[in-house]
Amino acid sequence: MQGRISTEKRHTMPEVEPSKRILNFSEVMLGYDEETARSEARRCLSCKSRPCAKGCPVSVRIPEFLSLVAEGKFEEAYAVVRSANALPAVTGRVCPQETQCEGNCVRGIKGEPVAIGALERFVADYHAKFGRDSSAPQSNGHKVAVVGSGPSGLACADALIDLGYEVTVFEALHLAGGVLVYGIPEFRLPKEIVRREVERLTSRGMKIVKNAVAGKSYAVEELFSEFGFEAVFLGTGAGLPRFLGLPHENARGVFSANEYLTRINLMKAYEEGAETPLYPAKHVVVVGGGNVAMDAARCARRMGAEVTVVYRRSRAELPARREEIHHAEEEGVAFRFLSDPVDILVDGDNCVTAIKCIEMQLGEPDASGRRRPIPKAGSEFLLSTDCVIMALGTSPNPLVGRSAAGLEVGPHGEIKADEDGRTSLPGVFAGGDAVTGSATVILAMGAGKRAAKAIDEYIKAKE
């Protein structure tokens, strides 16, 4: 029924126009109003097979929440989302919906899928303005430690609080949120939203110990012996940035995206009078094609630089969210596809002056299913630049893996854990980038949520 009364066209979300938004770091997407949200939600066909929900890593009951939005029952809709997703205001903004829920939407076969992400964001923002949070259930007397306050840690903490556990989160940085505060820029995810979500959890009893580094300030085993926790979740996240191994990759003017973004997002280096400096650059080259590469490119534009993204495959293989690519292009970021850096050129002061790349062509699909790029002999070319940002992914944070006795880790330092987060140590669970290497916010949240269930089973089994 709903299908017939709905419009075919997806409602576009209002956004700040490119020429204005590259002058600041304010949020680009402005969100639906109530009328638009209801109208967009009415486009849902309420398919019996629920393909959208199957595409969601945390199994949000999408058709139910959409039908409540259509009816104007926004708080009820929020409750449905919230029951499965600890951070809807975040995921509504940063999830790659086109490969998940919206990618499975039946409306997308012939036309455009329902804007599920935009509606998730809408109900979360509506709740922040008008809603009230349920109080935490009574404590069951069991204490669990969560290491890391990023997406996996917060999702795990949230699920544990719902089950009655007393949760303490240990955070290495001076601010809670992990990649949500140091990695994702303000214009994509305002830090006020992260602060609000963390505060919502602390108001439900979650304790946070900041400036505490696992494997350094305390050993994982001490969380049991000294601090009296019964189980530990390790959500230590991404670690050392990857580089290409090129000559002069440690020259002045070459940065990891992690460093560049941390200076901007965590340390607010873009603000007037900030104490943390940012390298002044006129022409930035970003190497990579993921969301992090887009974030770095768009930050550099806002800092006033000309920006070129160098990616070794073609546009079709770009792993970034489509919206980020689109926004980057609108903001004047140039792309050099099928190009792979082979050398970094420096001046007498060891400052970057150019990056040498070679043209690539796509061959047969490789193990990842994407067509493998092959260099074209003799096709080298130079891009002059004073700043190169490497956005090539990260390996898992090395500290915990190196320090916890008996904790099995893989060849890249990733913590070995099963589907439910169980590690080689009893009572120690893990999830997110610490286990998988660079992935998405929502996959990390899914892992944290599953681990919470496994922790509950583990503690109950001990009783």
């Binding site: 290495a172 110990v209 400036n211 670690g239 002045r252 992690n258 460093e259 104490e275 500290l399």
Partner: protein, 280 residues
């Protein structure tokens, strides 16, 4: 907030602070560092732990006032607090089994060399210390070094205290006289550590330099502190800060340290201008 229990001006630009930080103090060892922020808007500043006491839960740092962040830090007084302090970070200095060592410190680096000398001396090693400064007025920790050294040499650039010249002079003399050390530790400005490494290289004496690159998180996330050691990229915050001085690419490290020098100079000038305005 982390309470400043004691603040002491060692020289015109060097300040020692004892700060209450039980979580950082409980496992701190010589060679490790902390990162602190003076205030809520402050930069994250890595500082080597000069001393720590797990019973009283305190960490002592010594820092030189060089830029915006250290100016902000130096403006805090006893009874006030720093917004954040995290640690201990990095790997402790390896002291296992060492019987005869030389500890070579230069300038503010002596603050970092001191806990290493103290630890080794405490473990029964024969410790020869060489500490050097620009001039007598900038000397620090002379008495402390005396207490933890079997032999102690001073050098100053202008000869106002000890031998005139740099720390390599006494070291080279000892090496030429045929003295051997299990390990030579060196902490100080990069050019000095480079010279120390060159002095010991012909004698194949293991030489360890404590690196102090630019950092942000200090936990192996941002990659800012990377350096080339033996042709490989290493991260000072998690692989160091101690590295084999004979393998470090010091020239590259010196360049990287200057990455933000324009910015730091500007911050210094800004705060000096503010100061002048207040004076008027």
């Amino acid at each position: 907030m982390y309470l400043i229990l004691k603040k002491e001006r060692l020289t015109e630009t060097l300040i020692r602070m004892e700060i209450e930080a039980p979580l950082a103090a409980r496992r701190a060892l010589a060679g490790q560092f902390v990162i602190l922020r003076a205030n809520e808007k402050g930069e994250r500043v890595p500082l080597t732990i000069a001393d720590s006491d797990k019973n009283s839960g305190t960490v002592t740092v010594i820092f030189q006032v060089v830029g915006g962040a250290t100016i902000a830090l130096s403006s805090l007084e006893e009874g006030e607090g720093v917004a954040d302090l995290v640690g201990p970070l990095g790997l402790p200095t390896e002291v296992e089994g060492l019987k005869k060592v030389a500890v070579i410190g230069g300038g503010v680096g002596c603050a970092i060399a001191y806990p290493v000398a103290k630890r080794l001396f405490g473990l029964g090693a024969e410790v020869t210390s060489v500490i050097g400064f620009r001039t007598k007025g900038m000397a620090i920790l002379e008495r402390e070094f005396e207490e933890v050294s079997s032999r102690l040499f001073f050098t100053t650039d202008d000869g106002s205290m000890g031998e005139r010249g740099n720390v390599c002079l006494p070291l080279k003399r000892m090496l030429e006289a045929g003295e051997n050390f299990d390990t030579v530790f060196t902490v100080g400005p990069l050019p000095m550590m480079k010279y120390v490494a060159e002095a010991t290289r012909p004698y194949h004496i293991k030489t360890v330099a404590s690196m102090n690159p630019i950092m942000i998180d200090g936990t192996g996330m941002c990659g800012c502190c990377r350096l080339t050691v033996g042709g490989k990229t290493k991260f000072a915050c998690v692989d160091g800060p101690d590295f084999d001085a004979h393998l470090i690419d010091f020239d590259e490290a010196m360049g990287r340290l200057r990455t933000y020098s324009d910015f730091e100079r500007a911050a210094r000038e800004r705060s000096c201008n503010l100061y002048h305005m207040e004076v008027k």
